[in-house]
Symmetry: C2
Subunit: 212 residues, 2 copies
């Protein structure tokens, strides 16, 4: 294996370093965050930094870049208090990636990239109709991360839409069956192959497999 | 699609709900966090909540569960200030999963599950020799998340070890080539298939593919 020190990495060209360090932490989710601004214009933004925070209460976090680099999603969540998260599939990954272009605040990214807003269950913010795993959140708290001016946006889970046939007997959701992708770095998208599922590990007990 | 409200999810049996909500946020990284306690005993713990926070400075976060549920990694990082993160591959996924059993503080998980500690570059904490993507961090800050008593542990990247042949011309690391896995929920592990990589998206410019 090759050794890379932080001193060496710091000398690298900016995008080379960003690609390398973004890939290093491993595979990530990839979803479209849908919001509405105070003028009622819908926004779509691509996020890979989506974090399971807990199941009871059901909390999901997203890491937002510094405000000057990525102001729309953060501002819309602050003003509206509600947002939706929608898994990305191969069938619309180009459109999803295109939402990461720096559109002006008054531009509706659904229209620009050709995705379909879906309003339902009296939620003020649309879901992405093309997505087969959609969930709606209510803002709980925004935590500023001083180390690099980013923000951890914490949301309370309120609504979920998905194919019931993907849910196993124990609640596990086989998101690979409806084509949800994984991402890597800033711009790479993957399909997945299930390898192993295990029971809860216990001291002194041989590990046991679970079906998917 | 089936609609699930939070009111319905709240009525579910605890593990069913945990499986469902843990899967909902999508695919995650999967790595072993290696630490040393104040008596010099090495600890290994399996984490899927590993978060890219930024490249400049190079910061990587891990979400730690409430202290009473998962005290060892958090305590060791607080006392030692250094830790390593090591990707999980199919070849040792059983051993990796077994580290999630609740071993006592004085137990060395490397010995218990049969993985090999590798000390190098004068770092006080070992890497997992079986892993082909390893990195070493220095504690920057621990942010308590009041909403559910979890902790965001922020580390500064210091050292990286990986196969140079996996790095593309632009710094992107093809972690799938050395078998790094993705995870889902609390207990499922996946291999990945590269589908698409795109250039940085720009307004009004047709999306362009990049090689892996």
């Amino acid at each position: 294996m090759r050794y890379y020190s932080i001193e060496e990495m710091t000398t690298w060209e900016r995008f080379y370093r960003a690609n390398f360090i973004n890939s290093l932490s491993g595979f990530k989710p990839i979803s479209l965050v849908s919001t509405i601004n105070s003028d009622g214009v819908a926004n779509l933004a691509l996020f890979s930094n989506i974090i399971h925070l807990g199941s009871d209460p059901a909390l999901i976090g997203i890491m937002n870049r510094p405000r000057e680099a990525s102001p729309h999603t953060l501002g819309n969540i602050e003003s509206n208090g509600h947002y939706t998260i929608n898994h990305v599939h191969s069938s619309f990954v180009e459109a999803a990636h295109q939402t990461s272009a720096k559109y002006a605040r008054e531009v509706n990214e659904y229209v620009e990239v050709g995705l379909t807003p879906e309003y339902k269950e009296n939620f003020s913010v649309p879901y992405v109709k093309e997505s087969s795993v959609q969930y709606g959140l209510e803002l709980s708290e925004i935590i500023p991360i001083k180390a690099n001016d980013t923000f951890l946006i914490i949301g309370k889970l309120k609504h979920v839409f998905l194919e019931e046939s993907t849910v196993s007997h124990d609640g596990f959701i086989n998101i690979q069956r409806t084509g949800s992708m994984a991402s890597l770095g800033m711009n790479a998208y993957y399909e997945t192959i299930p390898v192993k599922r295990f029971k809860y590990a216990k001291v002194g007990v041989t590990i046991q497999e679970l079906p998917f």
